[in-house]
Amino acid sequence: MTPLAITFLIVAILVIWGGLAASAVYLTRRPELEDYPTGGIDDHREDDAPAIRDT
């Protein structure tokens, strides 16, 4: 490969895969907010359809 092509291959990897790594690290360190406004608590019902006729 030519030095120019290698340079752009490395830049692509650094920017895009680096962006993935950075956003993953960011999310790991700040997975959720500590404080939310009141309300907004779900009544979780895993895999029940969101429809009235579902029984």
């Binding site: 120019l4 092509a5 752009f8 993935l20 019902r45 895999d47």
Partner: protein
């Protein structure tokens, strides 16, 4: 059941992802599709090579991620599929836009399934290199048995059987639900796809001529940056690749619990999608380099560098010449199948969720009703001798007119007309760890509609003036413009039909400032049913 603001006791709870990781994997599975493997490498090569990275990254940051956040905000705040969320956001006109998106998803699912069926067939064919010395002839003749443009009911069993299998698998996943179906499928298939594709890329890098291919892909042509079409190509690639603006991410975000981080996972999803594209670029062009060296030609002289041609003609030809070709072919077509399948289930969930919520159907009722209808239409249209031609035309119109039109309408109506930008920005920032500033509204309300509006208009004019790929005008009228017409009619009819569920007043959470209180509490406008 406790009553919370925004979660009236009368409203049944929504299905949910099991957690943040399940959502992220599912969203990545949706975004990483056929286009990542067969479209990005060729588009990058044809639009400046290494220099294409610059408009590509600009497009990712200025349009892709902002629209992704817009979809997340709408679905998460208004807790529904595209029609329900958009109705709660802006009443009946916006509900029509939601059904427009659902109809696009329905149409796309019809032919997307067919391509996955082809990939599944070729996965099997790889083991004995069944395409022989003439992959192009095999594809159009032996396998698809392509005839002249028209409508044929002459079924091709070689396509019909895998197509039926794909539909059965899809319906089973959809019927199993969000966590036990969609999420579980992605948790299994996405890692399998990444590992399988990584093995393929490593193998490709050790082929003779791999460096020739990578030189071709990554050597920059800076002059291309002065060409507006290169920038349009970059925005198109990002736009079509991220599964945005036709309901998928609205629907997926609606299954996140209310107290859920949106933007930071969104960044992971967007960069993961682009990371897979870079990986695909390396794998595909290293392989093409090998082929070019074997043929004694330059990479630029090869035909079929994108789409169906790349996957089902060029790659089989390469596999035939390669040591260990059958395994390489199986990895490639297995990857295509998995990437396509994890996207397909997200496309159909848009349709299933839409009808469940409006007509009060159970998940299985919706799956069997809508999925069954789609399966029959898909088999009728795309497992016949005219399937390839119909697919080509429907795909072009559904994407370039349908999805782009949907994005333009969404941004104009939500940001310009209804002025919901500040409310949605407030929503993102109240639940997320990565805050978005006013620039986000400027991008989704300014740059995106202008740029995509230009793309849409120029494409429509080109299609009207020049036609498409030499097909007869009448054929384009039926399968191209006719598809758009059907989508519009379906959107209108589904909007007019009365709501049988989700009729109770809805209060968005978190509360927004007094200035917009009237719009955050929406008694499901049009509740005059």
């Amino acid at each position: 059941m406790a009553t919370h603001e925004g979660a009236p006791a009368a409203a049944p709870a929504r299905e949910q992802w099991s957690g943040q990781v399940g959502f992220i994997l599912s969203a990545i599975g949706s975004a990483v599709g056929l286009g990542n493997i067969w479209r990005f490498p060729g588009v990058a090569y044809e639009n400046g090579g290494g220099a294409f990275l610059i408009p590509y990254i600009v497009a990712l940051l200025s349009a892709g991620i902002p629209i992704l956040f817009l979809d997340y905000a709408i679905g998460h705040r208004f807790r529904g599929s595209a029609p329900l969320s958009l109705r709660r956001l802006g009443g009946r006109p916006l509900e029509a836009l939601g059904w427009f998106q659902v109809a696009i998803a329905f149409v796309i699912s019809l032919y997307y399934t067919a391509v996955i069926a082809w990939a599944l067939s070729y996965f099997i064919f790889s083991f004995d290199l069944r395409w022989g010395d003439d992959p192009a002839g095999f594809l159009q003749g032996d396998y698809l048995q392509v005839s002249d443009p028209g409508v044929s009911l002459q079924f091709v069993p070689g396509v019909l059987i895998p197509l039926a299998l794909v539909w059965i698998a899809t319906l089973l996943v959809l019927g199993a639900g969000v966590a036990k179906g969609l999420e579980r499928a992605n948790v299994i298939f996405l890692p399998l796809l990444v590992v399988g594709f990584l093995v393929l890329v490593v193998r490709a890098l050790f082929l003779e001529g791999a460096d020739v291919g990578l030189n071709a892909l990554f050597t920059p042509d800076f002059a291309a940056l002065a060409d507006p079409n290169v920038w349009i190509a970059a925005y198109s690639q990002i736009f079509f690749s991220l599964s945005i603006a036709f309901g998928i991410m609205i629907t997926y975000a609606s299954y996140r619990r209310r107290r859920a981080n949106l933007t930071a996972p969104g960044l992971v999803v967007a960069f993961a999608n682009s990371s897979f594209e870079i990986l695909a670029g390396i794998g595909v062009f290293a392989t093409l380099g090998f082929f070019a060296v074997q043929q004694g030609v330059a990479v630029g002289e090869l035909e079929g560098l994108t789409g169906v041609g790349l996957s089902f003609v060029t790659f089989p030809a390469i596999v035939s010449q390669m040591p260990g070709g059958p395994l390489f072919g199986a990895l490639f077509f297995g990857s295509l199948t998995l990437a396509g399948f994890t996207s397909l289930i997200s496309v159909l969930q848009v349709v299933s969720a839409g009808v469940q919520e409006k007509f009060g159907l159970s998940r299985w009722q919706a799956t069997l009703g809508i999925g069954g209808t789609a399966a029959i239409l898909s088999v009728l249209l795309f497992s016949t001798t005219t399937g390839l031609l119909a697919l080509d035309v429907v795909d072009n119109w559904a994407n370039n007119v349908g999805i782009v039109g949907s994005a333009v309408l969404t941004t104009i109506l939500v940001i310009w007309v209804l002025r919901k930008g500040p409310e949605l920005q407030h929503h993102l920032n109240t639940v997320s760890t990565f805050r978005v500033g006013r620039v986000w509204i400027v991008l989704v309300g300014g740059l995106v509609p202008v740029l995509l509006g230009y793309m849409l208009l120029s494409r429509i004019i080109t299609l009207l003036v020049e036609g498409y790929a030499g097909y007869p005008t009448s054929y384009l009228g039926v399968f191209g413009w006719g598809t758009i017409g059907l989508i519009v009619v379906a959107a209108a009819v589904l909007t007019v039909l009365p709501w049988r569920a989700n009729r109770e007043p809805f209060t968005a959470w978190p509360p927004y400032s007094a200035r917009s209180t009237s719009s955050s509490r929406t008694p499901l406008q049009g509740g005059r049913r």
